[in-house]
């Protein structure tokens, strides 16, 4: 298996520690929106490297092609024509795909042991051979990323090219990007690089420029440099403050163990009631009244 060369930090639906003695550097992909020209080379490279081919779709009124993520399109360029606060029209582009959250909602929701893993370098990966196709990852994801394949009923999304990274290569999208808008390296290096980019953007008049590395999901291993970081929604609805849904947290946090133990307790209560109090028997010799 390709993932054996990467260390596992967390496994879905697993209550014992994951194999984790090897410490690997936390990696990150930094997508500098200000450098993106929307050419979709990243999409083409993703298809090429991962051997995925989506069905031919239809035009939805933007340059987006395909219109949405799918089991066959793990990254999609999104285009939005927006009027900014100062009354200017801007054509904002964003490469959409898995953010590789430090606190992944998909992994927390997944009921199948090992169907979703988080590697110690930060990559969140779906292991389709363990996937049952229940779609709980979709329920748990705050970014609307995972997609079930209509063909094999398994969930798919960006792997951050874990198979390339395991052998010391950068992700295919980063390799293909002609403007250097997609960078890849250690998370520390990417944070440092982003700082310089943001200073530069601010000097050029983008006063609200900033880094998108949302704390609500523990930070992400795919980060954006946004010229309008105060309003990420402008970029085709990028969540301003993504959080794991409280419903999902309650379901998978408190409810799961509490209800599990309660069921066991109910059975034990029955057994011990029976062996202490004894059965409820009608006296067959009871006389007629």
């Amino acid at each position: 298996m390709k993932e054996q060369s990467l260390n596992i930090e967390r496994r879905s639906a697993t209550t014992t520690p994951s194999p984790g003695v090897r410490h690997t550097v936390e990696v990150a992909k930094l997508i500098d929106i200000s450098k993106c020209i929307g050419c979709k080379a990243c999409q083409a490279a993703c298809m090429e490297w991962n051997d995925i081919r989506d069905k031919i779709g239809t035009c939805e009124g933007t340059y987006a092609n395909p219109a949405d993520l799918s089991a066959g399109s793990w990254t999609v360029m999104r285009y939005a024509e927006v009027e900014t606060k100062d009354g200017r029209l801007e054509w904002l582009m964003r490469k959409d795909g898995c953010m590789h959250c430090a606190d992944p909602g998909c992994l927390k929701s997944c009921p199948a042991p090992g169907a979703i893993v988080q590697h110690s370098n930060g990559i969140v990966n779906f292991q389709q051979e363990n996937c049952t196709g229940c779609g709980y990852c979709i329920t748990g994801c705050p970014f609307n990323i995972p997609r079930l394949s209509p063909d094999d009923h398994k969930a798919y999304k960006c792997t951050l090219c874990s198979d390339r990274i395991a052998t010391g290569m950068e992700p295919a999208c980063a390799k293909a990007c002609p403007t250097g808008a997609i960078m890849f390296g250690s998370k520390k290096a990417m944070l440092h690089h982003a700082e310089g980019r943001i200073t530069d953007l601010k000097e050029r008049g983008y006063r609200q420029a900033g880094l998108y590395n949302p704390a609500g999901v523990g930070g992400t291993h795919v980060m954006y440099v946004l010229p309008h970081a105060d309003t990420p929604e402008l970029y085709s609805g990028l969540a301003k403050d993504p959080q794991l849904s409280t419903l999902v947290l309650f379901w998978k946090g408190i409810a799961k163990p509490l209800m599990g133990y309660s069921l066991g307790l109910a059975v034990l209560t029955g057994i011990f009631h029976y062996v202490t109090v004894g059965p409820n028997e009608a006296d067959e010799d009871e006389t007629e009244e």
Partner: protein, 210 residues
Amino acid sequence: MNSNSTLLQRHTPQVRANHWFVVIAFTLVALSGLAFFHPAFYFLSNLFGGGPWARILHPFAGVVLFLAFLLLVARQWRHNRITAADRQWQQQMMAIMMNRGHDLPEIGRYNIGQKYLFRTLLVMIPLLFLTGIVIWQPYFAPEFPIGVVRLAVMTHAIVAFIAMISIIVHIYAAYWTKGAIRGMIRGTVTAAWAKHHYPGWYKEMTKGRE
């Protein structure tokens, strides 16, 4: 005079068949559902041929359970009205559970615990059906907004838990009350049993015979 060993018909063959059909469906749904509820129960998915098969079969078994349960409800509806005697009986529930019940009110065909079970399932099973539809992949779930799916998935788990606890209590109560299971398998109970547990029903059944 009736002898204590005279047999009284407690459940008709139709009710028994319906009940055990519901039992089979509930068992399949509960075991496959538990597999997805907590990793400790995931091994149960092997009973169904692995995770994907458990996931595929669970909702279909759920629909079968829902329909069979509705039929059972229709058959048993009229026996589940709560009476004043039931309320009195409930006040002595602790004593009954400790096998120290005496001078109990003359309750009818079912006791209030059974009637509560009936009501609980009457709410829970349709709720499981509805929330189950909302989270059913790949057929229906994509049609609902994500917020609705999240609410449904949590509600489904909580409601299923309540239903399973209720059923555990139901199974134990039936096992604890010697002779009750016979009433649902063979359909008959002894007169002494009926007189002891359901004196009101006993009177009704033996009226005019003496």
